[in-house]
């Protein structure tokens, strides 16, 4: 990120960038291999989007906010999802909790070593205070991201740090003292890059030799095979009816673990089309094509806008029709009720949609 921090530098920077950019654009257009592609970004455009803050505070905007101000923002804009004390598990895992004064001293959260510790809160994991700032500024509140001012972000972060007992009640967090807070982050020394899963250089301790690998043994390999873990019976229905999550054909079927009908087929046809099928109309009529009688699309076209079309057509269906579309006659469709005929005709005149 490259946002100058004060007005003078800002203006000079802007002038320089605009000058360079237009020059560059001209050159790119004239000589580059892809003339006419892209354009220079303006200073304001870059400032609008380039809001990232690095762990070393590159990109941190000027600003400040107190714990007290933060509490107000928290209660109005954060507590509904994260709980009054950042402890809520309703929407997301808890933000606060699980850290101690000793952790603040050592820079390693002791509870992360405990296999029996139930939850890993955000504060237990977060190694960088700058990342919390960056993230709240870009993404929170969840339903209204990027709505907080920089000062509000400082304030609400100050309140969270206070909940975690990293800063005192009367603290004001600012760009000037973020580094001193970083030195008290409970898990600041809790991350390592000593592994082989980063495909590139530049990270301390990273290697190219995987830490875990299997054995390419082909026979008599595992010794006695014992089963150590299975899904308990009570968990069988937890994912619904597995039979309804598998294909109805092929080498396997899903096993029955619930009520959903694996063979249920949604017929997406509108009710009027189903009625027309049941009444046998589709033997002589196609939706878009002439069969014995005219296509419903043609019927809809012919009667579009005609005032008494519904009554007229219902009558002709139930009494029989002849001579309008050719030499063939439609026998009286006596079995179809007046109400059903009306529903079918309304659907035909609406263009006979299939779904």
């Amino acid at each position: 990120m490259s946002r100058p921090r004060d007005g003078v530098r800002h203006r000079i920077g802007a002038l320089l960038v605009v000058a360079c950019a237009s020059l560059a654009a001209a050159t790119a257009l004239a000589t580059g291999p892809f003339p006419g592609i892209g354009r220079p970004a303006t200073e304001r455009e870059i400032a609008a989007w380039d809001i990232d803050v690095r762990p070393d505070f590159l990109g941190l905007p000027k600003g400040a906010g107190t714990v007290e101000q933060g509490q107000e923002i928290w209660e109005a804009k954060c507590a509904s999802c994260h709980g009054t004390f950042g402890e809520s598990n309703q929407v997301f895992t808890p933000l606060i909790g699980g850290t101690t004064a000793a952790d603040i001293e050592t820079g390693r959260v002791a509870n992360l070593r405990r296999v029996d510790y139930p939850q890993r809160t955000t504060m237990m994991k977060a190694p960088y205070v700058a990342t919390l700032f960056d993230y709240i500024r870009r993404a929170m509140p969840w339903n209204e991201p990027k709505s907080l001012s920089d000062d509000e972000v400082y304030a609400v972060l100050a309140f969270m740090l206070n909940l975690a007992e990293i800063v005192p009640d009367d603290f004001e967090l600012s760009d000037a003292n973020m580094a001193t807070v970083q030195a008290r982050m409970p898990n600041r020394d809790g991350v390592t890059t000593a592994h082989a899963m980063w495909p590139g250089g530049g990270l301390p301790g990273s290697s190219s030799a995987p830490d875990v690998g299997g054995t390419a043994c082909m026979s008599d390999c595992a010794g006695e095979v014992a089963i150590a873990s299975v899904l308990p019976d009570y968990a069988r229905p937890a994912h619904g009816n597995l039979a309804a999550q598998h294909r109805r054909i092929g080498p396997v079927r899903g096993i029955v673990t619930g009520d959903d009908d694996p063979d249920a087929i949604d017929d997406p046809s509108p009710p009027a089309l189903k009625r027309a099928r049941d009444a046998g109309c589709m033997a002589c009529h196609g939706i878009a094509n002439k069969v014995v009688g005219p296509s419903y699309a043609d019927v809809a076209r012919r009667y579009r806008g005609a005032a008494d079309a519904v009554d007229q057509l219902v009558g002709r269906i139930r009494n029989g029709a002849e001579g309008v579309w050719g030499n063939l006659a439609m026998p009286a469709q006596e079995d179809v009720s007046d109400a059903d005929a009306r529903e079918i005709v309304a659907w035909i005149l609406a263009g006979a949609p299939e779904r």
């Binding site: 360079c20 970004a41 690095r54 992360l112 190694p127 700058a130 969840w142 991201p145 809790g190 495909p199």
Partner: protein
């Protein structure tokens, strides 16, 4: 039409169902009276098979004429639908069971959640775009591509000589490449680190999908902007959605030309759930780095330690340390048929089939065991076998009703062999959440039911 099927059996030229041709009336009577051994001999002899044909499949063929053959079905006796009846074609309504699904209880809210790909029904290696797994942190949106912009700038002055803005028009005019790659969430199989937790391969492994992606090499775009790659050694990718997801991208993959700024997926534009109109493609690296709704690339000289690379997508080790920037999806495989929550339709021939992949390159071989890992046979790899792409393996298997534990074990072109749970946990414990690439076991019960198990 009304579904009035013809039932007259005396149709000239009708060919009779094959099995009846070698069954005498006595044989059929024997079957009806339950003496299936007669039939089995006759059937097996006729087909030249050994004795392992499933008895259960034969009586059906030996009974009276199949009404689905002799009573002509409506689709043979009526007119079908016209062209473009569904302008964007949909799968058959009989396939409605195979859809993306959430795992109950995994997350609290749907906009920060996962929907898993139904791998249990997959063929080949390509995931239909509508079944590609979903993982969002702040919901998904359908962005107007005419209003979407893509920016490249630098962390420090001069790092990018010409910070630039591109429209989708610009990007689609540039030379493009199309490549097939898998995309796996780092947390795929994460629920299974400590013990068996979920029933089917959809939930154990359904956060992997595979598509052909089309786009522009990121290095080309950096070049157009005059990026100084001697100073800029890391790249930040940022999304345009509410979360504006940020991830640090390894420069080696940018330099190699593998990282793409992609707009295409399986021959059409990306689906909105998968980042329409623009996403980053970072082959072999976990899905969170494939930033969706991509709006910006920044060149810098240090990693960014973003929320999703310092608080999440960090792998907890037994000593309480988090491994950061764990990006590569290491060598992995899983049998998809048969797999957990299924029942085999009968004894006899079955093709064991599954998927293998590695973030370090191409899959070199896959071995399959049916006895819980004591003995292994090499499976056949179906073509194509591509780097950082799903690879389909198959192994013929005759199941005679015995209990079996099915496993697959992949080896990639670097020689890295997929580990067992024991090997994986010995180093990484059980709380890592991310990057579980252990060998999966499916127990086949004598009843034919298949379930998810872990061996000691």
């Amino acid at each position: 039409m009304g579904g009035k099927a013809k039932t007259d059996p005396v149709v000239p030229g009708r060919v009779r169902a094959a099995p009846e041709n070698f069954l005498s009336a006595d044989d059929i009577a024997a079957v009806s009276s339950g003496r299936r051994d007669v039939l089995r001999r006759g059937f097996a002899a006729a087909l030249g098979l050994g004795g392992a044909v499933a008895a259960s499949t034969i009586p059906a063929q030996a009974r009276a004429d199949d009404p689905d053959i002799v009573d002509l079905p409506p689709w043979s006796t009526s007119l079908g639908l016209p062209v473009a009846a569904t302008p964007y074609g949909m799968p058959s309504r009989y396939e409605r069971n195979l859809v993306r699904r959430q795992s109950p209880g995994l997350t609290q809210v749907g906009a920060a959640s996962v929907a898993f790909t139904p791998l249990q029904g997959s063929f080949g290696i390509i995931t239909p775009s509508g079944l590609h797994f979903e993982r969002h942190h702040q919901g998904w949106m359908d962005i107007d591509p005419k209003r979407h912009r893509f920016m490249i700038n630098g962390s420090l002055p001069g790092m990018v000589a010409r910070p630039m803005v591109f429209t989708i028009d610009d990007l689609m005019r540039l030379p493009s490449v199309s490549r097939m790659h898998f995309l796996e969430c780092g947390a795929n199989t994460g629920m299974e680190w400590g013990n068996v937790a979920v029933p089917t391969v959809q939930y154990t492994h359904g956060m992997v999908s595979c598509s052909e992606f089309t786009g522009v090499e990121l290095r080309l775009l950096l070049d157009i902007c005059g990026a100084d790659l001697s100073r800029g050694t890391f790249v930040l990718a940022e999304g345009a959605d509410g979360s504006s997801m940020t991830r640090t991208i390894p420069m080696d993959l940018v330099r190699s030309g593998e990282v793409l700024v992609a707009y295409g997926q399986n021959g059409e534009m990306l689906r909105p759930e998968n980042g329409y109109p623009l996403r980053l493609v970072v082959p072999g690296v976990q899905g969170v780095s494939w930033v969706k709704w991509l709006r910006r690339i920044e060149l810098g000289d240090r990693p960014w330690g973003a929320k999703d690379e310092s608080i999440h997508y960090v792998d907890l080790m037994p000593d309480g340390q988090h491994r950061q920037y764990t990006s590569i999806q290491e060598v992995k495989s899983v049998i998809t048929t048969p797999s957990g929550g299924q029942a085999l339709v009968g004894q006899g021939f079955h093709a064991i089939s599954g998927l293998a992949w590695s973030g370090r390159g191409a899959v070199r071989r896959v071995d399959v065991s049916v006895d819980g890992g004591r003995n292994w046979r090499e499976a056949t790899l179906q073509q194509p076998v591509l780097p950082k792409c799903l690879t389909r393996f198959v192994l013929p298997w005759s199941w005679t009703g015995e209990r079996a534990i099915l496993q697959a074990r992949a080896t990639d072109e670097t020689g890295h062999v997929q580990p067992t749970y024991r090997q994986l946990r010995a180093v990484r414990g059980t709380r890592s959440i991310y990057h579980n690439n252990a060998i999966q076991s499916w127990l086949v019960d004598p009843s034919g039911e298949v379930s998810n198990v872990q061996t000691a």
